[in-house]
């Protein structure tokens, strides 16, 4: 277990390092100088430009600049925003809560409704299965920005049940404000998870060990829990984990649609205004969240299925 953890951790750090290099390098090769963003296109005297270049380390070669940025980032200092001169670390700290709450809420919806719909529709062929499959087919084809518009128009404009914009205060306020964004974000993922759950539970039901357990007269509940669901859990965990990991980035879309102050909408705004320190920092945070979630899912495999060799790369 220790060797597996060490190896997984090394891989995690290596991919984060490479990702940080890619994120920093991408901005380095960008056409146009960051100075233009700072000055807003005004012509400044050369001496002022040199001071600015020195301040943002633009007069240094790429590698020292990257190492400088990386070591600052590891100390929690992501520099200052080019647009409003706020500390990037503070900006992220003030906004990441909303994104984490949104992802957690959405993840919960995906796990609960995805699994429930998938398992019920696998175990109840016929009418219930047909209805659920129809619903999930529609949901699969619903991108989150379309779902966001439909939800706003129905629940915020027509029925006026839920607020359409903003973060909300307190637990109740947060839940009220995040329900529509979370549902919009979860819709297509719920459908995906339920389809995978349905297929893998159906497959397990036809397997020989399940037939054997049934023919030996074990209660249906025991067969389902110990022989069907346990074995079906592996593919379900894979798809659920991947889906939840990718929510961190997809959250940007619904944060924009519902005017939430998360890091996703901050990334979109920063990208539009070429605020490179903010873009770099948030990209790195999102990649880190994605990679760490995937690593946690890998650990979960080992706990779910003792046959999974710890240390063997999950292909």
């Amino acid at each position: 277990m220790a060797a597996f953890l060490a190896k997984r951790l090394t891989m995690l750090v290596a991919s984060l390092l490479l990702a940080s290099f890619a994120v920093y390098g991408a901005v380095y090769i960008a056409p146009g100088s960051p100075i233009a963003t700072i000055t807003g296109g005004r012509a400044l005297p050369p001496a002022t430009l040199r001071v600015l270049e020195h301040h943002y380390h633009l007069d240094e070669p790429f590698i020292p600049r990257y190492l400088n940025w990386l070591s600052d980032a590891l100390h929690g200092d992501f520099g200052t925003s080019l647009v409003n001169h706020q500390s990037v670390a503070n900006l992220i700290a003030s906004r990441i809560g909303t994104t984490l709450e949104l992802v957690a809420y959405t993840g919960l919806l995906i796990v609960v409704f995805g699994l429930a719909a998938g398992i019920v529709s696998a175990l109840r062929p016929g009418l219930i299965d047909g209805v659920l499959v129809t619903i999930t087919s529609v949901l699969t084809a619903t991108p989150s920005f379309v779902a966001a518009i439909v939800l706003i128009s129905v629940f915020a404009v027509r029925l006026q049940w839920l607020p359409a914009i903003g973060d909300g205060q307190g637990f109740g306020g947060t839940i009220a404000h995040l329900t529509m964004p979370a549902v919009a974000l979860a819709a297509s993922s719920v459908a995906l998870v339920s389809r995978v759950a349905r297929a893998s539970v159906r497959e397990e039901l036809t397997r020989e060990h399940v037939q054997t357990a049934v023919s030996r007269g074990l209660p249906r509940r025991v067969v389902l829990r110990r022989h069907v669901l346990r074995n079906a859990a592996i593919p379900i965990t894979t798809i659920t984990g991947l889906t939840i990991a990718s929510l961190f980035a997809l959250a940007a879309i619904v944060e924009e649609a519902f005017n939430l102050n998360g890091i996703g909408s901050a990334l979109v705004n920063a990208a539009a205004s070429k605020d490179f320190p903010v873009v770099q920092a948030i990209s790195l945070v999102l990649v880190a969240a994605f990679v760490i979630t995937n690593a946690l899912v890998d650990l979960l495999y080992a706990l779910l299925d003792p046959r999974v060799e710890l240390g063997a790369s999950a292909a």
Binding site: A26, A30, P31, A199, S283
Partner: protein
């Protein structure tokens, strides 16, 4: 994997489209879907000719006006005809995803076959690079590209194509490695078939693509006796690596 296993389907087998009769076996839902797709393709191809009005004519007096005769979808915030904008915009909406799917499939399949056939260092480096790329969600890559190169359809399509390549490559590579170990590949190698044709002509056809899983057995039989494989079997007989 689990989704394509034949034993997993007690329900009737998925309808396969046979080449001799296109459209056969689509059923009612399939036909409706095909019609919708065909309409979208026609709108994409001939959009500007089909649009009843100029999609860019601004008439602020009609801003947000609902459906009227001649304007079945009404007007947008600047008083432009929505139906015309919808029809003309279909081309952009279809072109982007088309580029993404075509490019990521092309690059993903090529890299996957290269990795599966060469093995060793090539495989390690390519798989490692794809794992790193995997850590970048597509939307993040697209926003990053927009930040760096400015927002445009080309930049968005290219970055999404790059983001989806690892998904294609992962699926195709594992299938290509499986197929590589199959006896019919060994048979082709014994006959002196070059790696490239046997990889492209045979394994591609037998590998289920990520978007359209189909029964493997029939296509394997068809392709291993395809004229391309037979003609290449009579080609040069350089020594080649054996085994997987």
């Amino acid at each position: 994997m689990a989704l394509t296993a034949p034993s997993a389907a007690p329900a009737p087998a998925p309808a396969t489209v046979r080449r001799s009769r296109p459209g056969a076996g689509l059923g009612v839902i399939g036909t409706v879907c095909a019609v919708v797709i065909a309409m979208a393709v026609i709108a994409a191809l001939f959009g500007p000719l089909l649009a009843p009005h100029n999609p860019d004519t601004v008439n602020l007096a009609q801003a947000y006006v609902g459906p009227t005769a001649g304007h079945p979808l009404g007007f947008d915030g600047q008083g432009r005809d929505l139906l015309s904008r919808l029809i003309v915009g279909t081309r952009t909406a279809m072109l982007g995803p088309l580029v993404v799917v075509a490019l990521s499939s092309l690059v993903g399949v090529a890299l996957a076959l290269l990795a599966a056939w060469r093995g060793g260092w090539t495989d390690t480096v390519l798989t490692g690079a794809m794992d790193i790329l995997f850590a970048f969600p597509g939307i993040l890559l697209a926003v990053l590209t927009a930040a760096v190169f400015g927002p445009s359809l080309t930049a968005a399509s290219l970055s999404l194509a790059i983001a989806y390549t690892p998904y294609v490559m992962r699926v195709i590579r594992s299938e290509a490695i499986r197929q590589r170990a199959q006896p019919y590949i060994a048979a082709l190698e014994v006959q002196g078939s070059r790696p490239a044709p046997s990889a492209c002509g045979t394994s591609c056809a037998t590998s289920p693509s990520s978007s359209s899983p189909r029964p493997r057995s029939c296509s394997a039989g068809r392709c291993s006796t395809s004229p391309r494989s037979r003609s290449s079997a009579s080609g040069c007989s350089r020594p080649r690596r054996t085994g997987a």
